[in-house]
């Protein structure tokens, strides 16, 4: 890996762009071109930017990352371990590239009443009118370098469309596997839940290597009236990786969005989730868990924007921080002047397992309506002595009691994942990672 300066870092990141094959859709090519232009004018954020105050991503600029090369040697046996039993439909991307041989066939989705396909496939042309109003429209890149870069690299990606009134219980699993060190990939998802539909998506970032690489992901989720979306996002990138994730959710009338995001991996990770309750009676539940140790940094920024009346939002964000790791949470709740009768609660709870662990948490309420119910709170601390005593009074040793409570702290979030096998797998991860002996 060579050392480069910040601007040449961007140049190197953009290097692979001109080689992307053009899409038959003119607007698609235009979107990509304007993102390239925009990326060229934006700078890498520093800790002087308020939004990046605690998250120093300068180590990212010290390394040079190439676009990923095509991978041909990977076998199904290498990746099957990541599959979810419950998922009827699976899209697999390796270092950003769509892998049809590991993915379920598009007709399987069709049988279930969904459209699930790769964004670069020819099938996309036939959905052009469905996609055009949404792709790149929710996750704006005017002021966001990483979203601009992702959009500049728009090629492969996951497209999920749940047509009107389609209800599918089995989750759609979108699996992004990192296999090459020193590369940057730009995963992209677009989920459109048409009116009255119900769908579950699992966005899953995993790795087969321990090296440094960049994952720069953008997800856009659109809920039309009365639609319901369950969104699970698991980030288990390599301990040396950089993960930048951005998710924009737009909620229409009486739609319901529930998400659980879990950050386990990456040396430095940043996840921005913006949910806009754009019509009356929309509802969202946004929960998160960061479980980090060593010298990891996990930064979660969420913004829940109540733009219309009678919206409901619920948020519980938890961090378990061990070693010299550092967790950041910034949770903004915006209640605009028209958003009367908004009902919003937010809670940030943090558990520090070592003296060097650090958490910066900032719940942020901005309320411009007068008839609202908003509650928020943040706690940072160690395990509760009353809880410890309760368990010890039932015969559990100090260590067993501590392990159980630490596990429980994380499991409260994991429990909310509506996919049993994934839940069990992550509960084991939490238990193993926090266990002391």
């Amino acid at each position: 890996m060579s050392m480069v300066t910040s601007s040449s870092y961007l140049e190197s990141l953009l290097q692979g762009q001109p080689q992307l094959p053009p899409s038959p859709l003119a607007w698609f090519n235009q979107l990509r071109a304007s993102a390239v232009d925009r990326a060229g004018t934006l700078k890498l954020p520093t800790t002087r930017d308020e939004d990046w105050r605690f998250t120093d991503i300068s180590p990212l600029a010290k390394l040079s990352f190439q676009p990923a090369r095509a991978v041909s040697t990977l076998q199904a046996a290498d990746v099957e371990g990541f599959y979810l039993d419950e998922a009827a439909i699976r899209l697999v991307f390796v270092d950003g590239a769509y892998m049809p041989q590991f993915s379920t066939q598009p007709d399987k989705a069709r049988d279930l009443g969904l459209t699930v396909t790769d964004l670069s496939s020819t099938a996309v042309s036939s959905h052009g009118t469905v996609i055009e109003p949404h792709l790149g429209r929710h996750a704006g890149f005017q002021d966001n370098l990483f979203a601009a870069l992702n959009t500049a690299f728009l090629h492969d990606g996951a497209l999920v469309v749940a047509p009107r009134n389609a209800a599918v219980d089995a989750p759609v699993h979108v699996l992004f596997i990192a296999t090459q060190p020193e590369v940057a990939s730009h995963p992209r998802c677009l989920l459109i839940a048409e009116s009255g539909s119900a769908v579950t998506i699992v966005e899953d970032y995993v790795t087969l290597q321990e090296g440094a690489y960049v994952t720069n992901a953008v997800t856009e989720i659109v809920l039309e009236g009365n639609a319901q979306v369950n969104h699970v996002r698991i980030q288990r990138d390599s301990p040396q990786a950089f993960h930048i994730g951005h998710c924009a959710v737009s909620l229409a009338h009486a739609s319901r969005y529930r998400s659980v995001s879990v950050a386990l991996g990456a040396r430095i990770s940043r996840y921005d989730l913006n949910a806009r309750l754009a019509a009356e009676g929309a509802e969202c539940a946004i929960d998160g868990l960061a479980l980090i140790s060593g010298r990891q940094l996990a930064d979660t920024h969420t913004c829940i924007d109540h733009a219309q009346p009678n919206g409901i939002s619920r948020q519980l964000h938890k961090c378990i921080v061990d070693g010299a790791a550092h967790a950041v949470f910034n949770g903004k709740i915006m209640v605009r002047s028209g958003a009367q009768c908004t009902d919003s609660t937010q809670s940030s709870r943090n558990l520090l397992l070592s003296a060097k662990a650090r958490v910066d948490t900032k719940p942020q309420l901005e309320i411009f309506a007068d008839d609202v119910k908003c509650a928020h709170g943040a706690t940072v601390g160690q395990l509760d002595i009353e809880e410890l005593f309760y368990l010890k009074s039932r015969g559990l040793s100090e260590i067993a009691a501590r392990n159980l409570l630490t596990y429980a702290f994380g499991a409260e979030i994991i429990d909310r994942i509506p996919v049993a096998s994934l839940k069990q797998r992550l509960e084991r991860t939490v238990f193993e990672q926090t266990k002391r002996s």
Binding site: K392, S393, A408, F409
Partner: protein
């Protein structure tokens, strides 16, 4: 039930304890033999719950004097978990909620820890499920409670049932029930007390800590002790509880003061 040849389970002598430097227990003497049911009554702040917590080993309470012997062990030598494994059980006044840990997992951990102590086989999740479901019938508990987080979102009555369920699983030699009747409606009280009665044998003992006589209609005590200002000021039989119910606590205090003054003059 009082038996002639029963053995002493618990012996408290001159127990003094403080919380944050304030003395709450000011010299408690109490002897509990196997097969007996004791009720400790008293107004709020008399030190009843402090006594229960000190027995269980809560570290917010500092013992400043006296001794407690439990089945021949110096209780102060034992950590809370060792006390539990030795057969001492406290049913909490306010059971703790632990979201994220299923009740069945928690109950099995506790059960297996105590089983291991007695050199008995541990139960795997399936075996335990059958075992615990039987015990739940005793308390008329819905099996759904196994899948929920420990006490999470349980009503007051459900939490108390869950405490007695733990007692049923752990089969302690000495069970201290701290205000188990509070928050129970009359039906729940009957079910819970009925469960406790079924667990009472000639080899174990129960100490009920309560404010009201109500529970003692169902679990009939052999001894009733009245606590005030950190001391046991009167001990009697079950009829003492009925006296307290009709006459209140004041007369006991007055009687005690008179006795103390008489002693001072003599």
């Amino acid at each position: 039930m009082i038996h002639q040849d029963s053995k002493v389970l618990l012996e408290i002598r001159g127990l003094r304890a403080t919380v944050n430097g304030i003395e709450i227990l000011k010299g408690i003497d109490l002897t509990v033999r196997s097969g007996e049911v004791h009720a400790i009554m008293g107004t709020n702040g008399s030190g009843k719950s402090t006594l229960a917590k000190v027995l269980a080993g809560h570290n917010a309470y500092q013992v400043t004097g006296g001794s407690i012997t439990f089945e021949g062990h110096n209780l102060f030598d034992l950590e809370p978990e060792e006390r539990a494994r030795a057969g001492l059980f406290l049913a909490f006044q306010y059971p703790i909620e632990i979201p994220g840990v299923s009740n069945s997992h928690f109950l099995r951990l506790a059960y297996n820890t105590v089983q291991a102590q007695h050199g008995k086989d541990e139960l795997d999740p399936l075996e335990f499920e059958d075992f615990v479901r039987e015990k739940m019938k005793l308390l008329d508990m819905n099996p759904d409670f196994l899948d929920r987080g420990v006490n999470e979102g349980f009503s007051g009555g459900e939490k108390k049932r869950n405490e007695i369920l733990q007692m049923a699983l752990l089969e302690p030699r000495l069970a201290i029930l701290d205000e188990t009747d509070s928050g129970l409606d009359i039906d729940a009280l009957r079910i819970v007390t009925n469960g406790v009665n079924k667990l009472a044998t000639k080899d174990n003992a129960i100490v009920l800590v309560t404010h009201y006589q109500r529970m003692l209609n169902y679990i009939v005590p052999d001894f009733v002790h009245v606590m005030q200002a950190g001391r046991i000021i009167k001990t009697g039989g079950k009829e003492l509880a009925l006296d307290l119910e009709t006459r209140g606590y004041d007369w006991v205090g007055a009687e005690h003061r008179a006795a103390v003054e008489a002693e001072a003059e003599a």
